[in-house]
């Protein structure tokens, strides 16, 4: 960009709208003519084209996409838990977790397809494999994962094919880790300021959230004497989630703001409350059934709310041109200053 140096905007202001009218009023009531060099700089402010967003807000629908994020993550952790439980001789935990994995995977795929503009063409997702598209990579993770997890859950329900079940379970578990985090790249690899800027923390927030959800569901749905590892997974996951979300909500200056304000702020506050209470209950429950059930449910609810909150924050940051323009302005100014520094 070849900026006209020394002429930032040259004093031009939009001729209509409240800001222009305010300035007009100030100018008239003040009566004092502005001193040279004072008026224009003092009025420097954020400009946009009639307040319209610069980028297009995602066309992804709620609740489809937030639920798809939640279910995929919970299913990924559940598959890992189920197979580990099977290998270490915890049949009840294995069954509960594998059923959650299968159910979560299937509904997750359902929500993904329902969100498409042309659902009948969903198989086009598997037409190519593109490492530059997190949705392509994700489809290639999700498709085999949901097939394997559903097969494992089916074998549990039928109570047959134990050897095949072990194999499909191992396959699902191998894809379980990527299932919990690829959706973070899916959100971050966009021009949405609040998602993109958080691309280093989002995978960990989603991983923690997925562990809290998968662990919580397993704790709530399996007998206490087998649920020890699930309790540990749920609690460590909740802690990872809380730390990563705190960094997302406070570490990125202006683009962290949508995570703390408006509907997203309220959703994430509720998420935090659920996660903290759920963690405390899970820790305190021991082998008592009711608190464990409640704690697990609260952790899962916290994960759901986190996904809705993160989704909403991104939408809010895309709709307000300020979040797009101001960080880019600051970046450009920094670069210009650095260039000027090296020149002199």
């Amino acid at each position: 960009m070849t900026a006209a140096e020394g002429l930032p905007g040259a004093g031009w202001r939009r001729a209509d709208g409240p800001p222009a009218q305010d300035r007009e009023r100030r100018r008239r009531s003040g009566g004092r003519p502005p001193r040279p060099g004072e008026s224009l700089v003092g009025e420097a402010e954020f400009t946009s084209y009639y307040g319209r967003p610069v980028i297009k807000p995602p066309v992804w629908k709620t609740p489809d996409v937030p639920l798809y994020l939640f279910l995929g993550g919970a299913a990924g952790t559940s598959a890992l838990l189920g197979t580990m439980a099977e290998l270490t001789g915890r049949p009840a935990l294995s069954r509960a977790a594998h059923l959650a994995a299968g159910g979560g995977a299937l509904t997750s795929v359902g929500f993904l397809i329902h969100d498409l503009g042309r659902p009948a063409r969903f198989l086009n997702m598997l037409r190519v494999f593109k490492p530059t598209s997190p949705l392509s990579v994700g489809s290639w993770v999700l498709a085999p994962f949901s097939a394997l997890a559903t097969a494992t859950a089916g074998a549990h329900l039928l109570g047959r094919f134990p050897r095949l079940r072990l194999l499909t379970g191992l396959g699902a578990a191998a894809l379980g880790g990527p299932m919990t985090t690829y959706t973070a790249a899916l959100l971050a690899d966009t021009a949405v300021p609040s998602w993109h800027e958080a691309h280093r923390e989002l995978p960990f927030a989603f991983a923690g959230s997925a562990m809290a959800a998968g662990g919580g569901i397993a704790v709530a749905s399996s007998p206490a004497e087998e649920a020890g590892p699930a309790r540990q997974v749920a609690v460590t996951g909740a802690l990872v989630d809380l730390v990563a979300m705190h960094r997302i909500e406070h570490g990125h200056g202006l683009v962290s703001e949508p995570y703390r304000t408006g509907r997203a702020g309220r959703l994430l506050q509720a998420a935090r409350a659920c996660t903290v209470t759920g963690t405390a209950l899970t820790l305190a429950a021991g082998r008592r059934r009711v608190p464990a059930l409640l704690g697990g449910a609260l952790l899962a609810a916290g994960s759901v709310l986190t996904r809705f909150g993160v989704f909403d924050a991104g939408m809010a940051s895309a709709r307000d041109p300020r979040y797009t323009v101001e960080p880019q302005r600051a970046r450009a100014a920094e670069r210009d200053a650095a260039a000027a520094g090296t020149r002199s």
Binding site: A4, A10, Y50, K56, M84, G117, M125, S133, T180
Partner: protein, 345 residues
């Protein structure tokens, strides 16, 4: 013609340094087109001579049979925005050219001879009014001659009207193309970026990926649509419809190299005449998208026209994203495994 690649250059490109961002001298060649592919073409939109006639919008709508919508993308609705003469509102699935209208004013507070005591009511009035042909229009206001296009003065205010025809930038590193999971978006032999409508499944990923907010999903259709640089016309040796319709040559179509040279000359000419704020936007190969196939001469900051001041292709940070995704996944596997390790029941 060789295989048309919808895969990004990121993991197959010959130049390891510019796979996800940075200059790419031969963008079509890098995508697998042979030596005989045509040169990269694009638009140079010189907004200093745009008169806001919207012939480009109409020509585009007619040629591409785009449906009617209001300024928010709602189909078959008439929308009046109240934003100057702009009732198109934005680029979208049904508007592939969009003429922006910006009304601006400023106080004349440059030191100049005045009548009356300093600071009094008449103090801001210039001693001499500019010569007038029609009331309120300076004599030198033919676009070719005037030193400050689209500008006139009225009392102690100067008023100007910025008009600019926006379009898809056909980026060197196109985020929409990079993130498309179906391969529906592809790079043509002309270096432009086009959606194959028979493949698009409406996942909508390209919509928030575009740093300019160009591509959008069409209501009641589900697929995404955007400017094709009139791919059908190009293959028949014609100009894009908007460029042929533009009466002032504000929209210039041609080989990108030639357009860039023409733009540099035009910018120098305007700056010689003292036009404030003239700058090129999107012509720099070192910018965040590796240079745009459609670039602009603007008279104010990009955000005034609704353009991002410093767009960066989101996939520039993709290697970092994948590293963190992998680390997160490994953490989950490790933590789950360790929850079982060392427990015997």
């Amino acid at each position: 013609m060789t295989t048309i690649s919808s895969a990004s250059t990121a993991f197959s490109g010959d130049d390891p340094r510019n796979r996800l961002f940075g200059p790419v001298p031969d963008v079509a060649g890098e995508r697998g087109y042979g030596e005989d592919h045509p040169p990269r073409v694009g638009f140079f939109t010189d907004t200093s001579v745009c008169i806001g006639c919207k012939a480009c919008e109409v020509a585009c709508k007619e040629w591409n049979t785009l449906p009617m919508d209001d300024a928010e993308g709602n189909r078959a609705q008439l929308g009046l925005t109240g934003a100057s003469y702009d009732n198109t509102g934005m680029l979208g699935a049904n508007s592939w050219r969009h003429v922006a209208f910006v009304e601006q004013s400023r106080a004349v507070d440059l030191p100049m001879p005045t009548v009356g005591a300093p600071g009094s009511a008449g103090g801001q009035r210039p001693l001499e009014d500019p010569p007038v042909v029609h009331p309120g229009v300076p004599a030198s206001s033919t676009t070719a001659e005037q030193s400050a296009p689209q500008q006139t003065s009225s009392g102690d205010r100067e008023i100007r009207w910025l008009m600019s025809s926006d379009v898809c930038k056909h980026c060197t590193h196109a985020a929409c193309l990079d993130v498309c999971p179906t391969g529906s978006l592809f790079r043509t032999e002309f270096g432009s970026v086009v959606v194959q409508e028979d493949i698009c499944n409406g996942c909508g990923y390209c919509v928030p990926a575009c740093p300019y907010g160009v591509i959008d999903q069409r209501q009641d259709d589900g697929r995404v649509f955007k400017c094709t640089l009139c791919y059908d016309r190009l293959t028949d040796g014609l100009q894009p419809a908007c460029a042929s319709a533009c009466p002032t040559e504000s929209i210039q179509f041609g080989d990108l190299d030639e357009l860039r040279a023409r733009a540099d000359a035009r910018l120098a000419a305007l700056q010689d005449k003292g036009v404030e704020g003239a700058r090129l936007y999107g012509h720099d190969e070192d910018d965040g998208v590796g240079g745009a196939g459609a670039f602009f001469l603007l008279l104010d900051e990009p955000e005034v026209y609704g353009l991002p001041p410093d767009p960066v292709v989101t996939t520039r940070d993709l290697p970092s994203m994948w590293r963190h995704v992998a680390a997160g996944a490994a953490m989950v596997v490790g933590l789950v495994a360790s929850a079982f390790a060392g427990r015997r029941r």
